[in-house]
């Protein structure tokens, strides 16, 4: 595998994590550099969402072993909100509804927290509304949705679109997209994928968790990893995704002697 740059963004070494005492991640190793797109695939229950939750700092999961560095900092030392401000964004597989909290209020709070972290002044109301408008267009998010409560009463597809909208607002360095494509029809998929592509640059990186090649047709990964039973059991170029699409996971299980 050819690497474009030598500076590291994310480095995961031998990461183990538990939930309720049960080991889910069992020694993950992964390195991500700026500008790269990595796809993570794997059967249901293999630990893909757990990996994204652990990277984002969800306290439900307990890291028992291993190291994670993000731009040279020990990521595991940081609170979830600090990780966000450092530039890690998670597009949730199941975005949660927060009744009563308007999208506008939610996003303005988030943006201002990010600005505070960078020792910047809070954004002015007019700049904020301009930013909202601009970023809404990236994912063609209806103004009506933006004025509702966070995810409340959104359809599955609208929730996913809203995730990418928030990503556009926060401009993360590392975006983790956890099955952002599931539940999207073809048009929505194209809009979401275009949104992600518009935000891509040589300075940021993307981890795409998906079951389907159709998303990878739009968001082209350089690296494809198979996560199985809490470990990355195979890594290759984009051709691996096509092979998995065609043959499923049984051949990998066989290779592993199962």
């Amino acid at each position: 595998m050819k690497r474009r740059k030598f500076n590291l963004m994310l480095e995961i070494k031998n990461l183990h994590a538990n939930v309720n005492g049960k080991e889910i991640l069992r020694g993950i190793n992964l390195t991500v550099r700026p500008g790269e797109v990595h796809a993570i695939m794997g059967p249901n229950g293999s630990g893909k969402s757990t990996l994204s939750s652990v990277l984002a700092g969800n306290p439900v999961f307990e890291v028992t072993e291993g190291e994670v560095t993000f731009e040279g900092k020990n990521l595991l030392d940081l609170a979830p909100e600090e990780r966000s401000c450092e530039g890690i964004f998670l597009s949730f597989q199941y975005p949660v509804e927060i009744p009563g909290v308007s999208m506008v209020n939610f996003m303005r709070t988030a943006i201002n927290e990010h600005r505070k972290y960078k020792k910047q002044e809070p954004i002015s109301a007019s700049d904020f509304l301009k930013l909202m408008r601009e970023k809404r267009e990236v994912v063609e998010l209806d103004n009506k949705l933006a004025s509702r409560s966070v995810n409340e009463g959104f359809s599955g597809g609208e929730k996913k679109r809203n995730e990418i909208f928030q990503m556009a607002m926060l401009e993360p360095k590392l975006a983790i997209l956890d099955e952002t494509d599931s539940g999207l029809d073809i048009d929505a998929l194209r809009i979401v994928a275009n949104g992600v592509n518009k935000l891509k640059s040589e300075h940021n990186a993307t981890l795409v968790i998906t079951h389907y090649q159709r998303l990878l047709d739009y968001i082209k990964p350089e690296f494809v990893h198979v996560l199985y039973k809490g470990k990355i059991v195979k890594s290759a170029g984009p051709e691996l995704a096509l092979e998995l699409e065609e043959k499923g996971y049984d051949w990998i299980k066989k290779e592993l002697g199962e």
Partner: protein, 481 residues
């Protein structure tokens, strides 16, 4: 996982930032309560005979009453003989202008964010500030007087407008109403008096700020608001107290009267000292608030944001006597740590086509107990009465309690009465979602709680909505995360 559980369980108080004591020369009468004390209070205030007689009748009735039984409150027995019933910042001579008010006092109200001088100059809001038992200063009086609006301390009203006071005093809350109403009627110290004449829309918010300063004292204020035909007034009451280890008693009475087509909005932001995080100290807040829509098409609206007090017991109520009259009750009650709140409303429909709306939002954290208790009574002659009640509870811990007791008495079959209730929790997933976007757990709780309470907060006068929002967040500081 355990750690995660703790996130929603762990409770500490945010510091109560109003907990300072003002060092001021205070006159306090000895503790204890008997007829002589009642006479002493009355004479200190130079009261007319009729008022002394009223106090004595109330006192003689009070001594016959047993301590009230508490439904959902646990309160150690209160020793009424260990309280002082009158405390007043010692006056040199009654202050006639702000320049003459004790500078220490002004500083106190400054610290509370109630700068009397500023209020006067800038905000266009009239403020009456009550420290311990005595009204310190009423601003804007002259300007209001031009329109015939009376806004002054209760004591002044007794001297300057005795006919009005005598006509309306105890006309909504008789001294026989309940234990604390009888006690207040016997020993009430001061409070505010408002009269809006026929056809006048009061051009500014009227506001009273209550402050208990002296130790071992009770505060028993009395507020009387009358809006004559076609009048309108919006009134706001705020309260704070110093932090003290012992409990302090606050037993107020508020009576409001709306004549034909009059409208009265009464808002409260109550932030008495709630006690420390182990439940030590704090104010016992036993308040009787009642309004009567006496005239046809009149309207009374109660809005309250209750975050303070160790124990809160209050049911701002509306008697809908006039035909087509409207009663509203919007409430947010926050309890944290060991606070207990039993609050709600009574809507008594007497007139035809009367309408009432109840929106109650309880927020409980820590080990607190938060009860909504509400009565909707439709009497026999109240044709076409309507009520809608919405009672929501939001829980922030596993150890707190939220209870809803809606009582309905419907004696007219044309009535339409609806009651909805919900209970929800702030989920760990919601908190984490906010965290992931850069929002700290505390700010996330603030966002969610304020979102939850929005419907009520929106009813507050603009100037106070922001303050009240901050107060909500502060009251729950440390209750999550």
């Amino acid at each position: 996982m355990q750690e995660e559980k703790d996130i929603l369980d762990e409770v500490t108080t945010g510091d109560y930032k109003y907990g300072f004591v003002t060092d001021i020369d205070t006159e306090i009468i000895p503790i204890g309560l008997n007829e002589d004390v009642v006479r002493l209070i009355s004479s200190k205030k130079n009261e007319p005979q009729w008022l002394l007689d009223f106090r004595l009748k109330a006192f003689r009735y009070w001594v016959t009453l047993p301590m009230p039984e508490w439904a959902h409150l646990q309160i150690p027995e209160i020793d009424y003989q260990s309280i002082s019933y009158y405390a007043a910042p010692r006056k040199k001579e009654g202050p006639k202008s702000l320049d003459e008010v004790d500078p220490e006092l002004l500083k106190t109200f400054d610290k509370l964010g109630i700068s009397l001088v500023e209020q006067m100059a800038l905000s266009g809001m009239a403020v009456d500030a009550v420290m311990d038992s005595v009204s310190v200063k009423t601003t804007f009086k002259e300007k209001l007087a031009e329109m015939g609006v009376i806004f002054c301390s209760f004591s002044e009203a007794v001297h300057d407008y005795p006919d009005l006071v005598q006509k309306y005093l105890a006309s909504v809350v008789p001294y026989r109403d309940n234990f604390y109403a009888a006690l207040n009627s016997a020993v009430f110290s001061d409070g505010s008096f408002v009269y809006i004449p026929k056809g006048v829309r009061c051009p500014m918010e009227l506001s009273t700020y209550f402050r208990i300063n002296a130790a071992n004292t009770g505060q028993f204020e009395r507020t009387l608001i009358v809006a004559d035909d076609d009048a309108y007034v919006s009134y706001l009451e705020g309260c704070t107290a110093p932090m003290r280890d012992e409990n302090q008693l606050h037993a107020a009475i508020v009576e409001i009267i709306a004549h034909d087509r009059a409208e009265i909005k009464y808002s409260t932001v109550q932030n008495w000292y709630p006690g420390d995080k182990d439940g030590k100290g704090g104010i016992y807040n036993f308040v009787t608030k009642r309004g009567i829509c006496k005239g046809d098409s009149s309207k009374i609206s109660w809005t309250q944001v209750e975050t303070g007090s160790a124990v809160t017991w209050k049911y701002p109520s509306c008697i809908l006597q006039g035909d087509n009259s409207v009663g509203e009750f919007y409430s947010v009650a926050v309890t944290n740590n060991h606070q207990q709140a039993d609050t709600g409303t009574k809507m008594i429909h007497l007139g035809k086509n009367t309408k009432s709306t109840i929106v109650s939002k309880g927020i409980s954290a820590g080990f607190s107990q938060n009860s909504y208790r509400g009565l909707v009574r439709i009497t026999k002659n109240a044709e076409n009465a309507r009520n809608h009640s919405q009672c929501d509870s939001l829980l922030l811990s596993d150890k707190c309690g939220a209870h809803t007791f809606p009582y309905m008495e419907i004696n007219n079959e044309t009535a339409i009465v609806e009651h909805e209730a919900t209970t929800s929790k702030i989920s760990e997933d919601q908190i984490f979602y906010c965290n992931q976007r850069g929002i700290s757990t505390e700010d996330a709780v603030g966002l969610i709680v304020n979102g939850y309470a929005k419907e009520v907060m929106n009813k507050l006068p603009m100037e106070f909505a922001v303050e009240a929002q901050k107060l909500l967040a502060i009251s729950l500081e440390g209750s999550v995360g």
